[in-house]
């Protein structure tokens, strides 16, 4: 019977999974950069790597969650920038910032709800639904907000803590990423909902036939990923005291996908977990940091990352082949 085999082969008693390969490559890259680059191994740089990847990693946790359920969420960056910008915009009327942030979170959740309904009920393939929703969300935001860059009000104690604070010497942004990841790991592995997400991602038809509430599951997933995107936006606002909505036009969403696919969450759904996201995040973080120290231009960095993404997708397609049924369903 044709189908997905075990990812990778075996050497001795060790199962060679993509996750292990990624971790091995990370270690090698880390060693090479440490040996060849002057400032790479400094404590400051290691913390910088972690800070830089905290936003990417948080987004990737949300994306990974969606991909496990055999979807894809291209709205994340749009939701992130527009949600936070909305909060700042609301606070500019004199509303308390914390309350404004709650409003932003509600907006993000509403967008997630809408996306989820489009995917689960209207049954638009997620890649198209989220692509279209992402640009409408960003477009609406650009019309409403006067400028590209919105700055958070100064003197918000908790926001400063998110940006500059630390717990036991670990930057708060990294702690938040860790919390989101830990919560997601718990959610996916230990709760009923997590099992149902895996089941729906593994075989949506079987999930439906078995009597699982597949539509509510999918809608909830997109709401949660939108809220995670919003959280990533708050971390970013804390770090750089504002939000640049033009981030939507950057390659960030592709970096997020890169992390997820590189980490080994199969796009065919039902496989992988938070551990894979963390492995992917670390690799991309080290790679980006090293390339920046080496003074690669933004364009050539993107070129390298896109080549890696393409290879990762090709490898994913080979070790997690989609069968005839799934390839006809039209999603990614």
């Amino acid at each position: 019977m044709a189908g997905r085999g075990k990812p990778g082969g075996r050497i001795g008693s060790v199962q060679i999974s993509q996750e292990l390969v990624v971790i091995a490559i990370s270690v090698i890259l880390f060693a090479v950069f440490s040996a060849t680059l002057n400032n790479f191994l400094s404590q400051g740089n290691v913390i910088a790597i972690l800070k830089n990847v905290s936003i990417l990693g948080t987004l990737a946790v949300g994306m990974g969650f969606i991909v496990v359920g055999r979807g894809i969420d291209l709205t994340m960056v749009a939701v992130m920038v527009v949600g936070v910008a909305f909060s700042i915009w609301v606070s500019s009327w004199g509303v308390d910032f914390t309350l404004a942030v709650i409003c932003g979170a509600l907006l993000a959740a509403a967008i997630g709800l809408f996306t989820g309904i489009m995917v689960a009920v209207a049954e638009i393939p997620p890649i198209f639904a989220t692509l279209a929703i992402a640009s409408s969300v960003y477009g609406s935001g650009r019309i409403v907000f006067a400028s590209d860059v919105l700055y958070a009000p100064p003197n918000i104690a908790w926001l400063k803590f998110v940006g500059n604070g630390s717990v036991f010497g670990i930057p708060m942004s990294v702690v938040m990423f860790a919390c989101v990841a830990a919560l997601m790991a718990f959610f996916l592995r230990k709760t009923r909902f997590g099992r149902l997400v895996y089941a729906t991602g593994d075989n949506p038809n079987a999930a439906r036939t078995t009597g699982l509430p597949t539509r509510p599951i999918i809608v909830t997933q997109y709401v949660i990923s939108a809220l995670i995107a919003f959280t990533a936006g708050i971390i970013m606002t804390g770090l750089v005291t504002g939000i640049d909505t033009r981030l939507y036009n950057s390659s960030l969403i592709y970096d997020v996908l890169l992390v997820v696919v590189l980490g080994g969450i199969g796009l065919s759904g039902g496989q992988g977990g938070v551990r894979n996201v963390i492995a992917g995040t670390i690799l991309v973080g080290i790679l980006t940091n090293g390339m920046t120290i080496l003074n690669f231009s933004y364009t050539s960095q993107n070129l390298i990352k896109s080549v890696i993404l393409l290879s990762a997708l090709a490898i994913d397609a080979i070790i997690n082949p989609r069968d005839e049924q799934t390839s006809q369903s039209g999603d990614i």
Partner: protein, 499 residues
């Protein structure tokens, strides 16, 4: 090899992962004859012809075409050699015109559509086909699509054309036209194989008839030598399957409560004004040929059909009128459907057997953040493993690594965990090894003995007769006959299904 034969199969066997679709078959196709291939679903007819058309390769034995041993790697290769196959689902490109389809794959660098249309018009007229070459294929009816396929086969200078159930979708008028066409093709020296379920057609049109059963040829010869009765006899009379299903005479279980009653149900063109009932403590067998609408009836009842193609009728579960749009409420109310194609919507392939069973258990709990323990999955695997004699390889084996029989047992167990009142088994033993078939049949009997209402849908007659207490025969989207086990015989059921 005599000169009279254009195709010969000698001691041919085709096996799919060691399960033979047909074995040790000898088959001859004479030049310029119409050869009808008959048999029940799963008898191996389609596979046999697909070997000739290059879709599959023989596992053992020889295929001779025009006296030379051949082995086609692809259908295109067979077509080049002169063997064309017209499939049940036509292989035309719907968005292109008739002419474009006709000359598909022969496009020149600069394709002149008008020239193509003129060429096609002459070609079609030469064959006496009244098809507009400029018409888009998606706008054509079944009969016209078939004409285009035939024209394409003739255009490729096919010397053998194989039809897989060509008349299933045709109106009587179109059928007559189709048969005239066959005669004309034969006059041009083309040999024809056609697979059919309609015995009258075979008797009326074919020069020779071959009947297959359980992957073997059981009768073959001049069409004049056959009668309806002898064909039906050849199709159903079996020795191997009787020992498999046990021909012990048993008495039917009595009627229990009326669990399900369906009245005047209609659904798209698939179910037409059908009525039937299902009782508890009894196995209701549903027999019909493929495409008769059995599965669709079950799927409407269990809320599985997507979108709104419900055209009226009433479904009552324990006297209460119900209409399910998704399977979830049906499962909650106690109707479960065990799928005919477990890979498509039966199991979760990357999970273990235990995890699959656990998903079944999780469906009726409403708290989404309730904790789920992995130990429970193992416990379920152990409990049901013993009950269903599941030959598990290990706790950690994924579903995809299990045998067909074990997979099917897990799918069944996943449904039984949901504590149903009515279980609908659709082809419960498809792709299952012999030992597991017997066990699954025993399980079905036990469920009925325990007072559950059980429906078994099957296109395999011995299975229906082995497990059912009451048999419903389905034809063209409707339950056409109902009989108790004591009145049923293979001949009678088959007669009702094909007439």
């Amino acid at each position: 090899m005599s000169d009279a034969n254009i195709i010969e199969l000698r001691a041919a066997t085709k096996a799919f992962s060691r399960i033979p679709a047909f074995k040790n078959v000898d088959f001859d196709l004479h030049r310029g004859e119409i050869h009808a291939l008959l048999g029940e679903n799963g008898a191996g007819k389609s596979t046999l012809t697909k070997v000739m058309a290059g879709v599959f390769k023989l596992t053992e034995g020889k295929l001779l075409f025009d006296g030379k041993e051949v082995s086609f790697a692809t259908p295109a290769e067979a077509l080049r050699a002169g063997i064309a196959m017209v499939f049940q689902e036509t292989n035309l490109v719907p968005a292109m015109t008739v002419a474009q389809n006709l000359y598909l794959g022969e496009e020149k660098m600069f394709n002149r559509l008008r020239g193509l249309h003129i060429q096609a018009r002459q070609f079609l007229a030469g064959m006496g086909f009244q098809v507009d070459p400029t018409a888009q294929v998606s706008t054509l009816g079944a009969a016209h699509k078939q004409m285009v396929e035939i024209a394409r086969a003739v255009h490729h200078k096919a010397r053998v054309i194989i039809f897989d159930e060509p008349t299933a979708t045709l109106t009587p008028e179109e059928k007559r036209h189709f048969f005239n066409l066959l005669q004309r093709l034969v006059k041009e020296g083309i040999a024809i194989i056609f697979i059919t379920h309609a015995l009258e057609e075979a008797l009326a049109v074919a020069n020779r008839i071959t009947v297959m059963r359980d992957g073997e040829i059981v009768a073959s010869g001049d069409a004049k030598g056959f009668t309806r009765a002898s064909i039906v006899q050849a199709m159903v009379g079996r020795t191997l399957t009787e020992t498999l299903h046990g021909d012990v005479k048993r008495s039917a279980r009595p009627y229990g409560d009326k669990v399900l009653s369906v009245e005047n149900l209609s659904c798209a063109g698939l179910v037409r004004n059908s009525s039937f009932s299902v009782f508890s403590g009894q196995v209701t067998g549903m027999f019909g040929l493929v495409g008769a609408g059995r599965t669709e009836m079950a799927k409407v009842v269990a809320g599985l059909l997507k979108r709104n193609i419900f055209h009226g009728g009433e479904i009552r579960l324990l006297g209460k009128s119900v209409r399910y749009r998704v399977p979830r409420p049906a499962v909650r109310d106690g109707i479960v459907y065990v799928t005919e194609d477990r890979k498509v919507d039966g199991f979760f392939e990357t999970m273990t057997a235990g995890e699959n069973l656990q998903i079944g258990e999780l469906t009726d709990k409403s708290n989404p953040v309730a904790m789920v323990s992995m130990a429970r999955a193992k416990e379920l695997a152990k409990e049901w493993g013993e009950r269903l004699r599941l030959k598990q390889i290990s706790d950690r084996a994924k579903m995809i690594e299990l045998s067909g029989g074990n997979q099917q047992k897990v799918v069944i167990a996943k449904s039984l965990i949901q504590q149903p009142k009515l279980v609908i088994f659709d082809e419960p033993t498809r792709g299952v090894d012999v030992g597991a078939i017997v066990e699954i049949h025993q399980l079905i009997s036990e469920l009925a003995d325990q007072g559950m209402a059980v429906v078994v849908i099957s296109s395999y007659l011995p299975e229906i007769l082995a497990v059912s207490d009451r048999i419903l025969v389905v034809k063209r989207g409707r339950v056409v006959e109902e009989m108790m086990l004591s009145d049923a015989s293979e001949e009678r059921v088959m007669f009702a299904a094909v007439h």
